[in-house]
C-alpha cells in the first residue's frame, strides 16, 4: 500500500483557504514562525511534533515530506518552504489529462513514458531544487526530474500507466510549487538549443588554432632546418587538414550570410570576411601543396576563432526573460466552467461560445462575455490603462483581459477566445511583419565603403605588378585580401555592444540584442504610457503617519480594507497582505466618497476621509502632506493616517526633464484626462498628450510619429501598450517583477530602473561613438597591413603578428572604453534584481 498518497491531500476540503479561520487573535507575545514557510503564525497555530505551522497546507507538506524521509529539505535552508496559498481540488487539474491538451503540453511521449517541462516561478532556493529533484519518492510512477534553476524550470518524466499528468501537477501544487500553465504553453514547444552550435564551432576553431599555432611556431623558429624538409611538409599537411573543418563548419555562418547579402546586392561585413577566409585558405593550400611555403593556417584559424568569440560575447541571453510574449502567455490554461449546475475545470482552448464560466476574485476574463450574475468590479488597467475598476451590472458586456476584483461572478462567453476585442489587436499589421534583424547596422554601413576600397586596392596592386611578374601580382592581390580581412573591424561592434548590454543588464535594463542598442542611440522621440510606467501601480509608496500600528491593528486594517474595491483600499490591503491574515469582519459598510467601516471582534474600525471622520466627532489633523490620505479611527479614537504618496514614480520629474532637452516627448494614456494639467506641466507645452487611447489608437499614434521621420522609443507596461511597443522602433516594457509577464518588447526594464532611461539613452550614444573610434583604430592597422601587402612582401609571420595585435588592441579598447563609459554616464551602481520572490 502506498503510504500517505498525496491524493488524500487533494481530496481534503478547502479548509485552510477559508478567510474565516482566524478566530480570536488575543495577544500572544511573539507569534511563532511557521516551520515550513517562515511566515509568522496568526490565528490558529497548527502544531505537529512540537513544530508550529501557519496553516493546514504547510503542515500537510511537512507531513508528506517527513513520512517519505525527505526531512532534509528543512536542513538545507531555513524555512525553505513555499506557503501553499490555495487548496487544490481533486479535479482541478483533470483537464490536463484530455489527450488534446496533454499532447501539446508534453515534450515527448510514447504512450508509456512521458517527458514534460514545467515553469515553476515559486522555486527559490537550494532546498526547492533538492525537493523537486526527489519527487520520484513521493509518488510511484514519477521518474527522473531535473531542475534548471536560472530558468525556473522543472523537467520530469513519468509513466503514464502509473500516474496521470493531473496527479503530477496536483502533487506539485500541493507542495506549493504549482506550475505556471499558460495558454501559450500549447504552442511553440520546439525550444532550440540556443548556443550549442556556436559553442561547437568555436571549440573546433580553437582546437585547430591551438594545434596549428604550436607547429607554426617551430617553423617560425627554424626547427625545420634542424629536422629536414620532411618536417615542414608534415606540418603543412596537418595544418591543411586541421583547417578544413574550421573553414567549412566553423565559418559556415559567414559563408551563408555573405551569399545572402551578395544576392541582395549588399556589402555587409561578412562579405570581406568570407573573401579573406577564401583567399587565405586558397593561398595557403597552394603554398603547401606546391611545397613553396607553410601558408597562413595559424592566422586563418585564429581569425575565425576570435570572430566566433566575438559572436558568443555579443549574445547575452537573459534566462528568466522572454521578449516575445503575446496575450496567450497572459491567459490561464484552464478556466472554471459551469455545466449542468456543477463546476468543472476546462482547458481554455475547449471553451466555446455560450459556455458559462465562473470567474473568481483576481481571475481574468478569458473571452468577451456577458455578465450573468454576481457583483462584477472589473479592473481593466492592464488592457486599457484605466486605473480605476469599473462596476458592471448583470447583462453588461465584459471585455476579455479584465480582472475581476471582489466575489465570484458567472459569465457567459459571447465570442471565442481568439476573436475577442483584446486579441483583435494582434491582427494588426505591426504583428504580422517579422521584425527581422536590420542589415543597416553600424558595422555594415562602414563595411560597405571599406569593402569597395579594399577591392580597388587589391585590383590596383595586381595590375601594378602584372607587367613585372604575374606570380607576384597574384600574391599581392591575395595578400591584400588577407590583410584587409576585417577581423578587428568585425570585432569592434560585438565587444563594445556586448559590454554595453552587460553594463545595462547589471542595472536592470535588459536589452534584447545589440541591434536594439544601436537603434536606441538614434532615438529622437520618446513616448510614455501613464499607468504603471510613470505612475507606480500597487503599494510601495504607502506610509503610515501617526503612532505605529501594532500587528493586531494592522490585521484589522487589512481585514477591513480587503473588502473594498476602492483603489486606495486595494493598495492598503495589498501593502499589508504579506504578513496578515484575514479575520472575520461583521457589519461592513462602504459609504461612497467617504469611507468604510466594520466590526472585527468587539472593535469598531473606521477608515476614510477626514471630513467623514469629523462627522463622527473624530478630529483628524490637517497636514500639508503630499498625496492622498486615508484616515483611520479605531473604537472612535483617531489613530493616524495612511499617506498614499503621489502616484508619480520617484525621479520621474528628473527623467522627463533630462529627456526634454534632446527628444520629442509624448504621453499616451488609456485613462481619462483628469491629470492632464499635471502632466502638461511636467512634459512642457510642446509635448503631445493623448488620453482615453485605445490600444489600436496608441499603435496609430506611434506610426504617425514615425511618419514624421522620428525614431520612436515607446515605454509601456500593459497589454494595452502591446501594439505601440511592437510598432515603435524600440519598445521598452516596464515590469514590477522581472519574471512577471511583459508584452513583446525590445527592452525589459525593472520599474525601479525607469529613471535611468535617460542615462541609458546617453550611454547608448556613447557606445556607438566608441564603435566608430574602434573602426578608425582597426582601419589604421589595415592601412599598415595593406601597405606591406600591396608591395608584395607579406610573410606568414608578419600576418601572424599583425592580425592578433590589431584584434586584441581593438577588443581591449572597446571593452575598456565601454566599461569606463558605463561608470561615467550616470547609470548608477550595478545592482542585482531581487530574484528571491516567494509569491508565484
Amino acid at each position: 500500500m502506498e503510504r500517505n498518497s498525496s491524493a488524500d491531500l487533494l481530496d481534503q476540503p478547502a479548509a485552510w483557504s477559508d478567510p474565516a479561520i482566524a478566530g480570536d487573535s488575543s495577544a500572544t507575545a511573539e507569534p511563532a514562525r511557521c516551520f515550513h514557510c517562515g511566515t509568522r503564525c496568526r490565528g490558529e497555530v497548527f502544531t505537529l511534533l512540537e513544530k508550529s505551522f501557519c496553516c493546514q497546507g504547510c503542515k500537510t507538506v511537512f507531513e508528506i515530506l517527513s513520512e517519505n524521509g525527505l526531512n532534509d529539505f528543512y536542513s538545507l535552508s531555513e524555512n525553505a518552504g513555499v506557503r501553499v496559498k490555495r487548496a487544490t481540488r481533486a479535479d482541478q487539474f483533470s483537464y490536463l489529462d484530455a489527450p488534446a491538451v496533454l499532447e501539446r503540453l508534453v515534450n515527448f511521449t510514447n504512450g508509456k513514458l512521458t517527458r514534460i517541462t514545467f515553469h515553476i516561478p515559486s522555486m527559490h532556493c537550494i532546498a526547492c531544487v533538492w525537493l523537486l529533484e526527489n519527487l520520484f519518492r513521493l509518488k510511484a510512477g514519477i521518474g527522473q526530474s531535473q531542475v534548471n534553476f536560472p530558468r525556473k524550470e522543472l523537467s520530469l518524466s513519468f509513466e503514464n500507466e502509473k500516474v496521470k499528468l493531473s496527479e503530477v501537477v496536483g502533487l506539485l501544487a500541493a507542495l506549493g510549487y504549482e506550475p505556471e500553465l499558460k495558454f501559450s504553453d500549447l504552442e511553440n514547444h520546439a525550444k532550440k538549443p540556443v548556443n550549442r552550435r556556436l559553442w561547437l564551432q568555436m571549440g573546433i576553431a580553437g582546437f585547430a588554432f591551438g594545434n596549428i599555432m604550436l607547429f607554426s611556431i617551430s617553423a617560425y623558429l627554424g626547427l625545420d632546418s634542424f629536422s629536414g624538409p620532411g618536417f615542414k611538409k608534415l606540418v603543412g599537411y596537418i595544418s591543411l587538414f586541421l583547417a578544413l573543418p574550421v573553414v567549412t563548419y566553423s565559418a559556415w555562418d559567414y559563408w551563408r550570410s555573405s551569399i545572402i547579402s551578395l544576392r541582395q546586392k549588399l556589402l555587409t561585413i561578412d562579405v570581406p570576411i568570407a573573401a579573406g577566409i577564401l583567399a587565405i585558405y586558397a593561398q595557403s593550400a597552394y603554398e603547401v601543396l606546391s611545397g613553396v611555403g607553410e601558408g597562413y593556417f595559424d592566422s586563418l584559424c585564429g581569425l575565425i576563432f576570435f570572430l566566433l568569440c566575438g559572436r558568443l560575447f555579443q549574445q547575452k541571453t537573459y534566462d528568466r526573460l522572454a521578449f516575445d510574449r503575446d496575450y496567450k502567455s497572459f491567459f490561464p490554461l484552464s478556466v472554471t466552467r459551469i455545466a449542468h449546475g456543477t463546476e468543472e475545470t476546462a482547458a481554455l482552448a475547449q471553451v466555446e461560445t455560450g459556455d458559462h464560466l465562473l470567474v473568481r476574485n483576481g481571475e481574468l476574463i478569458p473571452a468577451d462575455a456577458r455578465l450573468v450574475s454576481g457583483a462584477a468590479v472589473i479592473d481593466y488597467s492592464f488592457v486599457t490603462g484605466e486605473s480605476e475598476p469599473v462596476e458592471k451590472q448583470a447583462g453588461d458586456h465584459l471585455y476579455a483581459g479584465g480582472r475581476q476584483m471582489g466575489g465570484a461572478i458567472e459569465i457567459e462567453t459571447v465570442k471565442a477566445v481568439s476573436q475577442s476585442y483584446l486579441t483583435s489587436l494582434w491582427n494588426q499589421e505591426a504583428f504580422r511583419k517579422e521584425n527581422s534583424e536590420t542589415l543597416a547596422t553600424l558595422t555594415n554601413i562602414f563595411s560597405e565603403r571599406f569593402t569597395r576600397i579594399v577591392i580597388a586596392i587589391a585590383a590596383g596592386s595586381a595590375v601594378f605588378w602584372w607587367p613585372t611578374s604575374p606570380a607576384l601580382a597574384i600574391k599581392a592581390f591575395t595578400s591584400v585580401l588577407i590583410v584587409a580581412c576585417p577581423c578587428a573591424l568585425a570585432l569592434a561592434a560585438p565587444f563594445t555592444l556586448g559590454t554595453a548590454l552587460r553594463a545595462l543588464g547589471k542595472r536592470n535594463i535588459f536589452v534584447k540584442s545589440p541591434v536594439v542598442l544601436e537603434t536606441l542611440a538614434r532615438v529622437t522621440a520618446v513616448v510614455f504610457d501613464k499607468t504603471g510606467t510613470l505612475t507606480a501601480a500597487g503599494a510601495g509608496s504607502i506610509r503610515f503617519e501617526g503612532n505605529a500600528l501594532n500587528d493586531q491593528e494592522k490585521g484589522w486594517v487589512f481585514s477591513l480594507s480587503r473588502h473594498s474595491t476602492h483603489p486606495y483600499a486595494v493598495r492598503i490591503s495589498e501593502a499589508l497582505a504579506e504578513e496578515q491574515y484575514p479575520q472575520v469582519v461583521r457589519s461592513f459598510l462602504e459609504t461612497t466618497g467617504c469611507g468604510i467601516e466594520a466590526n472585527i471582534g468587539s472593535n469598531e474600525i473606521w477608515m476614510g476621509s477626514a471630513a467623514w471622520l469629523a462627522t463622527r466627532n473624530v478630529a483628524a489633523p490637517k497636514g500639508a502632506m503630499k498625496g492622498s490620505h486615508v484616515h483611520l479611527a479605531i473604537n472612535g479614537t483617531y489613530r493616524g493616517c495612511f499617506v498614499l504618496a503621489s502616484a508619480l514614480r520617484e525621479e520621474t520629474e528628473q527623467l522627463i526633464g533630462s529627456l526634454r532637452a534632446n527628444h520629442q516627448l509624448a504621453l499616451l494614456s488609456g485613462d481619462n484626462d483628469k491629470d492632464r494639467a499635471k502632466f502638461q506641466a511636467l512634459f512642457g507645452t510642446e509635448s503631445r498628450l493623448a488620453f482615453n487611447q485605445s490600444p489600436v489608437e496608441k499603435l496609430a499614434f506611434i506610426r504617425s510619429l514615425q511618419g514624421e521621420g522620428n525614431t520612436v522609443m515607446m515605454v509601456g507596461d500593459g497589454l494595452n501598450d502591446a501594439g505601440a511597443l511592437k510598432q515603435s522602433d524600440v519598445g521598452v516594457a516596464v515590469v514590477e517583477r522581472i519574471s512577471a509577464f511583459s508584452p513583446a518588447s525590445d527592452i525589459i526594464v525593472a520599474a525601479g530602473a525607469v529613471p535611468k532611461l535617460a542615462a541609458a539613452l546617453k550611454f547608448s550614444k556613447g557606445a556607438v561613438r566608441i564603435v566608430r573610434v574602434s573602426f578608425l583604430i582597426s582601419g589604421f592597422y589595415n592601412v599598415i597591413g595593406i601597405a606591406i601587402a600591396a608591395s608584395g612582401s607579406l610573410s606568414p609571420i608578419v600576418c601572424a603578428i599583425l592580425m592578433p595585435l590589431s584584434s586584441v588592441s581593438v577588443v581591449g579598447f572597446a571593452c575598456g572604453a565601454t566599461a569606463w563609459l558605463g561608470r561615467r554616464s550616470g547609470l548608477g551602481e550595478p545592482s542585482q534584481f531581487q530574484s528571491k520572490n516567494k509569491q508565484p
Binding site: 500500500m1 529533484e133 526527489n134 534553476f149 536560472p150 550549442r196
Partner: protein, 58 residues
C-alpha cells in the same frame, strides 16, 4: 630527431580526444545550465542516505 614524426600525430590524436570530450559535453547540454549543477552538488549525499531507509518500508 625523427621521433617527432611519431610524436606529432600522437599529440594530435590526444588533442582530438579532448575535442571529442568537449563536443560530447556541449551536445549533452552541459553548457546550457551552468548554475543548477553547482547547487545539486551540495545535496547529493542526502539523496542516497534516505532512499535506503525508505526502501525498507512496506
Amino acid at each position: 630527431m625523427s621521433v617527432i614524426f611519431l610524436l606529432i600525430p600522437l599529440s594530435i590524436v590526444l588533442a582530438a580526444c579532448f575535442l571529442g570530450a568537449f563536443i560530447w559535453a556541449v551536445r549533452s547540454g552541459q553548457y546550457e545550465d551552468t548554475c543548477t549543477p553547482s547547487m545539486r552538488l551540495l545535496t547529493e549525499e542526502r539523496a542516497v542516505k534516505n532512499f535506503k531507509e525508505k526502501a525498507e518500508l512496506p
